[in-house]
Assembly symmetry: C2
Homo-oligomer: 283 residues x 2
Amino acid sequence: MEILKTKRLMQQWSRARKKKGKTICFVPTMGYLHQGHISLLEKGKPLCDELVLSIFVNPSQFGPNEDLDAYPMDIDNDLRLAAVAGVTAVFLPQKEDIYPPHFQTRICLDSLPHHLCGMSRPVHFGGVATVVTKLFHIVMPDVAIFGKKDFQQLQIIRQMTWDLDFNIEIMGGEIVREKDGLAMSSRNAYLTADQRKSALSLSRSLHMAGQVIAKGEKNPLVIEKEISCFIQSFPQTRIEYISFCDPATLETVGVIDKQILLALAVQVGKTRLIDNVLIDPPQ
Amino acid sequence: MEILKTKRLMQQWSRARKKKGKTICFVPTMGYLHQGHISLLEKGKPLCDELVLSIFVNPSQFGPNEDLDAYPMDIDNDLRLAAVAGVTAVFLPQKEDIYPPHFQTRICLDSLPHHLCGMSRPVHFGGVATVVTKLFHIVMPDVAIFGKKDFQQLQIIRQMTWDLDFNIEIMGGEIVREKDGLAMSSRNAYLTADQRKSALSLSRSLHMAGQVIAKGEKNPLVIEKEISCFIQSFPQTRIEYISFCDPATLETVGVIDKQILLALAVQVGKTRLIDNVLIDPPQ
């Protein structure tokens, strides 16, 4: 497994592989790897000749009051896990290499970033789209894999990839959960024992909504009310959004008569957690 | 010379060439080719194995009151000239193929587009940067050549290419002029015989400024006043800007003590003309 610490070295590595006709699968991350990331690497391993992992805590996707400086890191452990997962190259750049002086270009999407997490994180998805564009040009993958826990991010990357005609197949990896249902996240590391219990309110709400819809409930407002009360019954929770929306456009739906995305963002203590599920109406 | 009318076909063509190790030089245009475009093709011809010309009148770089619908076209003549210049593939896409329904992604630069032509054409350079990004992904060139008459465009493409880590060398082609000095432009076709005479005020101003600076004038305001009076002495002229600026940042300079860009935009009748020159102060 090679570790490439500058974009020049990474580009050289990828260019050399491409020239030999090798295909490249790419999993971009912010590090502090957990089983969710590993599942993306496992999904990618058989798809291409090379498997590239990037670890970069991207400052441009954090707002001024977000957890950039506190974001958890453990590079040594990440590299161990990457080697076990069969990664062939790790891209580990410095901030100054990715954002040199006079950097001034951004990727903007007109519609998708303004829903869900974008409402409270106005700069977030522009930062994501921009760094992913750069990473795509540096790593030159044939396939790139993103986790479905960040469903909105995945949709934005897909849209951007279509719109800008990238020659890259975008794949989504399923959400990986702890045994009790909590969606894996690097930010779970912030939770105290009590908060960890309250964090279960997210996955349980999604499950609950699925059951109510299966019984024939078509009105999102009815279910939202139920979920809202349920989450608020857990200590230290503050709901940011509960959204029943179209999985393609992320626009709110008024009635559940086709597949919908139910997406949640809940602050537990000071930690912002998200989760989501696709739900089909009963036949 | 192959003519490729969809982005899928163009991508396939380029991918096949790249797989064989061929290099690609790319000259993007809006068609109605003149000697300025031909000089870019001639510059590109010896640089790579393949020479690709694109012809696409990009709607997203025209403002609502600009000349999108009137923009001159003569595809048959363009193809003849391309063949003579040694073009190996022409990319000739339809608007709907480049901007399909639900298209929503744009490339935005924070600083460079707000100077010079961007002051009167606020959407122009975002449209240029976006379509060039798409064309780069479709054509996959090793080298791309842009004319220096659109100096600001060239700088924006350079900056975007650095910022987004495209693996593409950006080259500028010199301004090609008629015998009397008028910079070649597809928009010169709009000029009446009288306006054609007034259009000479641009190149003559640039020449005049060079002489004044060579004599030791360091104050841009003095020269601007002189040029302004000169241009206004020609019938049907309306000055949009006369800018003495830093060639890298396009920011206005207060004193001419290093190389500057002198850039002009002048409306002649209803036709907007631009021209520019780099001027060094005397040693």
